[in-house]
Each structure stands twice: as C-alpha cells, then as structure tokens.
Symmetry: C2
C-alpha cells in the first residue's frame, strides 16, 4: 500500500479558497456524492433532520470528536486517511455492541486555511469508508472555525435486542478473547513522529518506511472489525461482554471487569503481537507488552465468552484467548512470562512510568 505524505505534497495542486463557496453550496458540493443504500435509511441530507426506520430493531448510537492538534497531526496524517479513520473509529463502537452499522452523520468545522480541494480529499476518505462498511451519510453540519479542523461523527446501528452485548456481562470463568493483534497503531505513530523530526532537519531525505508499513497502516488506516461480528454470528457465539480497543488493552480490560464486577487474569505470553510490532519495539527500545497494554487505537474487539464456546473459536486465526475472568476479589492482573502477578493500571501497568 502506498502512503501519501503531506510532507512530500505537490504544492502545485489547485487550491480553491473555501470562501469561493457559500455554506449552502459547499454542503451541496460535498453531499452530491452521497448515495443511500440501507433499507433503514428513509431520508438522508436535505431536510431539517434525517429519517430512519428500523422496523422494531433497537437502535445504537455513538459519537466522537476528532480535533486537529489533539487527535491528529496533518503533517503526517493525509486528509483522505483522516476521513477514513474518523468513520472507522465510530463504527468500531457500533460493532462493539454486536450491532450492524447503517448510518453516520458527519459534521466538520474548518478554518479558511483549508481549500475546497483539501475538504474534498477528506470526504474522499469518508466516502471510501462508508462504501467499505456499507453505511449511509444521512446528515451533518458544515461550518467555519477560527482555528484548524474539527470532525464530529455520529454512527448509528441497529440490532435485535436479544443480540445486544454490553460491557457489564462478563462472568467468572468466562474466557477473555481479543481479535487480531495489538500495539501496532501506537508504534506506527512513533515511526511517523520520528520521520517528521527527520524531515524537519532534512526535507529532501526520502525515508524508507517499507519495513514499517504494517504499523503505519495500523495508525493511518485502521479498520473496524465488522468481520468479527459476522464470524461470531457464523460460529454461533454471543460474547457475554465486549468493548473496542481504542484506549489500550489495559484500560479496556479494566472497563469490562469493573462494569461487570469481576476480576481477571491476563497472560502476557498470550497477547497477540505482529512480528513487525516486536521488531519495531526492539528498534525503539520499547517493551512490547507495555505497548500492547497502553498503546491504544488498534480498534480490535475485546470480549468475554463462555467456556462452553471455546471449542467453537478454537483455532480461528482472528480470535485469541488471552486470559480468563475470575472473582472480583482477586483483582485485575497480568501474569508475566516469569509467572509474576502484577495489578493492571488504567494507563498501562507500572513499567510505563519507569
């Protein structure tokens, strides 16, 4: 996969000032590409509100802010990827409820530093994500800002009430399971930040980032695990609790356990790591377990399943058992490779501070 870095941008590209468009015509320009494909979408953009009909299903709804200088840095985050990622992080929350995502609203506030072409690029990524995940854009707001770019996305999904998986259903003896592998997104950010510093010193040096492409992709173009929801359905496994890994494994495990009033033991040697994560950790002199526990932004799904369901998921390359749920009294612990028991902390375990 090719990455287009803003730092190597072609400055000759056409840049139409936003002021050439009024607010209404900018919205018209941006929304002309939206196509409604979900039967639950009755009416999208163009009235005071969108109209949806879920025919008796429960509706799930989640919203997130993405703010320039806080959540992203445009010097290494291409606008198209930013658009894609802003959709993905919201859909991830819908899947974490075991629901089908069907609509989003997209609101953006932009300063006049941005051109119409820049906003088009952002929307290209947003629209690409809606196609991959099969969701409709049904509304939003477009406004000017006094500084930078702010994106606010609301994702809407639906499900039959009996399929709902919440954070608070984990039971003693359940297995703790995670999809995919973790730690990559955080390391991708470390690589990009290092390259930004190198670029500042020598703008003509073309970096060779090929060997980091996995972790860079995890940072710049994460995917939401819609496929896992389907796999679980196909396997006839309904998790007892589920959450998406946005803040880091440690913090998400603590959410599940505290909301379910249970404890847990997580095995260090079971945490799934990609070989590029391990080699990049070595290069950066970082402890891979610390990164896995505290990194964040991997958008994998962390869940608990009943022991009786173990046979169904055994051997599935998308799902890894990393621990088990125990009585609240034992606490929330990491069992290290050296068989030590360490209490997990919300911001990663102790070694992060050391």
């Amino acid at each position: 996969m090719m990455y287009f870095y803003r730092m190597f941008e072609d400055k000759s590209k056409k840049r139409t000032p936003l002021s050439d468009f009024g607010e209404f015509s900018l919205i018209k320009h941006l929304t002309s590409n939206f196509k409604m494909t979900n039967r639950t979408t009755v009416k999208g953009v163009g009235d005071d509100a969108a109209v949806l009909n879920f025919a008796g299903d429960s509706v799930v709804l989640s919203t997130d802010f993405l703010i320039e200088g806080v959540h992203f840095d445009l010097s290494y985050m291409p606008l198209k990827h930013l658009g894609y990622k802003s959709v993905v992080v919201n859909l991830s929350d819908i899947y974490a409820m075991n629901a089908k995502a069907s609509q989003i609203t997209v609101s953006i506030a932009v300063s006049n530093r941005f051109s119409v072409e820049a906003i088009d690029e952002l929307y290209e990524g947003i629209i690409a994500a809606t196609k991959v995940y099969g969701v409709d854009i049904v509304g939003g707001d477009t406004t000017s800002s006094t500084s930078g770019l702010t994106i606010s996305i609301t994702a809407i999904g639906h499900l039959n009430g009996k399929d709902l998986v919440e954070r608070n259903g984990a039971k003693v003896n359940d297995l703790l399971v995670i999809s995919g592998d973790i730690g990559g997104a955080y390391l991708g950010l470390q690589v990009l930040q290092r390259e930004k510093e190198v670029f500042k010193v020598n703008p003509n040096l073309q970096p060779d980032l090929d060997k980091y492409s996995y972790v860079i992709q995890r940072q710049l173009k994460p995917e939401a695990r819609k496929d896992i929801i389907q796999i679980l359905k196909d396997l006839n496994v309904k998790p007892t609790s589920m959450i998406d890994v946005s803040d880091g494994l440690s913090s998400e495990i603590i959410h599940l356990c505290t909301q379910s009033n249970v404890g847990c033991e997580l095995y260090e040697d079971k945490i799934p790591l990609d070989p590029v994560v391990i080699s990049t950790c070595e290069e950066f002199n970082l402890d891979s377990t610390t990164i896995a526990l505290s990194g964040g932004e991997d958008y994998e799904l962390l869940m608990t399943i009943r022991q009786v369901d173990f046979e169904k998921i055994k051997g599935n390359p998308n799902l890894t058992v990393i621990g088990y749920i125990a009585d609240e009294k034992i606490g929330i612990n990491l069992i290290t490779r050296g068989h030590e028991k360490i209490a997990l902390k919300a911001q990663g375990w102790n070694s992060l501070q050391s």
Copy 2:
C-alpha cells in the same frame, strides 16, 4: 427574567482547572446528573454506544456544531444560556419534522482556559433544557481542544411515518403560516454587541437593558416550538411542509418553495413583529421587514397548510398566515405595504445590501 452577564462576572468564584480531572472522571462528573425518562431510551451513557428502541416508529436525527468565535461570543453569552440554546437549536430541527424529540448526545471540546465550574455551568443549561423538553442525554464525547469551546449536539426524535412533514410538500394555494413572531433574536444580538462596546469603554457603567429584555431573551434563551407540534395535533392540522426559522424567514421560504417546486407571495404587512422589535428597529435605524426576513435564530416554525385547514387555525394567537403558495412561474415574492412585488433573495431582499 434576570440575565447574568459574563462581563459583570464575580471574579472571586472558585475555578478548578480541568487538568485536576482526568477525561474519565470529568465524564463521570458531568454525566452523574443525567436521568433517563423516555421509554425509548434503553441505555444511555456508559457503554460503547447508546441503545434506543422506537418500537416501529421512524427515527429522526439532526446534528449541529456551535463554535466559539463563530456561533457565540462568551463576552455576552452566559455559559448556562449557551448550554440551553445549543440543545434548543437542535430540538427545533426535530419539531420541524413534526416529530417528538426524545434523546440528545452532547459532545464538547474545551481548551484549558475553561475551568470545571465553567463546564458545570454549561451543563446546567444543557440539563435545564433536557428537563423542559423531556429529552434524555444518551451519549457524547468530552475532549480537550487547542483553542476555545466547541459543542456538537445530535438530537434524536421519532414519529409514526404517516405524521412526517418534510420541506418538499407545499402545494399551490396552500397558506404560508408562521408561529410566534420574528426578528427578535437578531435585534437582541445588536443590543448585546452595542453593550459590549460600551462596556469596553467604561466597565463600571451598569447598562439598563430592561426595555430590551424581550429581544435579549430571544437571542440568549430561545425556545423550540414543541408546543406548536402539540397545538397542530390538537387542531388536527398536518402541515404540507415545514421548516424551522434558523437562518431568516426569507431563506427558509426559499428552501420550502424550491424543494416543493412552487412559488409564493409573502405579505409584508402580515409578518408578525413584537412591539419591542418595532421600537428597537426604530432606535437602531433598521428596517423591521429586512430584520424579519434576514435576521435568523428565531427558531419559530414556518409551514404551509391546506386552505381547508384555515378555519381550524383562524384566531389562534400562536399561528399567523403570512402569504400563500402559488405556481412556480410567479417566483418567490414579497408584496410590500405599498403593493410592490419584490423577489425574495436568500440573504434577505435587496434593501439589506443598500
């Protein structure tokens, strides 16, 4: 009603820096006052997404950004009023679909210029509005920003599909009807901006704003016309089209007419104006019709109804017939007091530029 002006603020009030709270504990602090009262709210804050169930009803959804320095100025907009208004402007869109508003999500991005007490004040207004309008806060995002305050609210409502009123249903010979009176909110802003300049010159001068209290209230604490939706139901009148007046009467009439492919004649002498609007216009040397057409932010409901429904609304103090729908070919016109016909423009009619 008393107004608390930020410019006369008591500087001795306690100000806890936001950094004293982590993100999670700030959210916990803010959400501890949220109470769920709607039967359609299955689950509010506390999981990856909110869960709603509308039992077969259609769902309507609208979202708006409010950005400091673009949509509000904290030097004369008290935070509590800002919170109240940000909810109201979103609910107004739901009522404009002839729907019942039931939930909102509230996302805020704040710079460290704001204290915990300031955010509490904002939420006091937000919560006050949810009580007045009977809606639940079911989610949101709380994050830091690099500059100022940004609020993003999504409002959710529902209705039986057959009750839906869109923008595109106006028919030739329908009557054009507006709720309440208009122009006040814009004049309130003019008064507040003038007082801000006066205050800059002499901070000790306590302004006497009593005679402007109606227009200031229209600007600082507007209400959404939930009552009108009930009145229409009670009168057994279903509008053929409807929109809320956020950008100004002229622009909203053009929306209804163009989306319905019709023309219209609006009578200048029928436009409902409060006596304070008229007297303040005289004082500021402004034309009251121009203000009514282009002012905006009144959050009244503009609708079209069938001629046969006229008897039902006749004499209702909340509803005024201001014109009628005509063939597309005649255009969208204002008939002046002097019987002149002037084409309406999106940003108000011509005299605004003169």
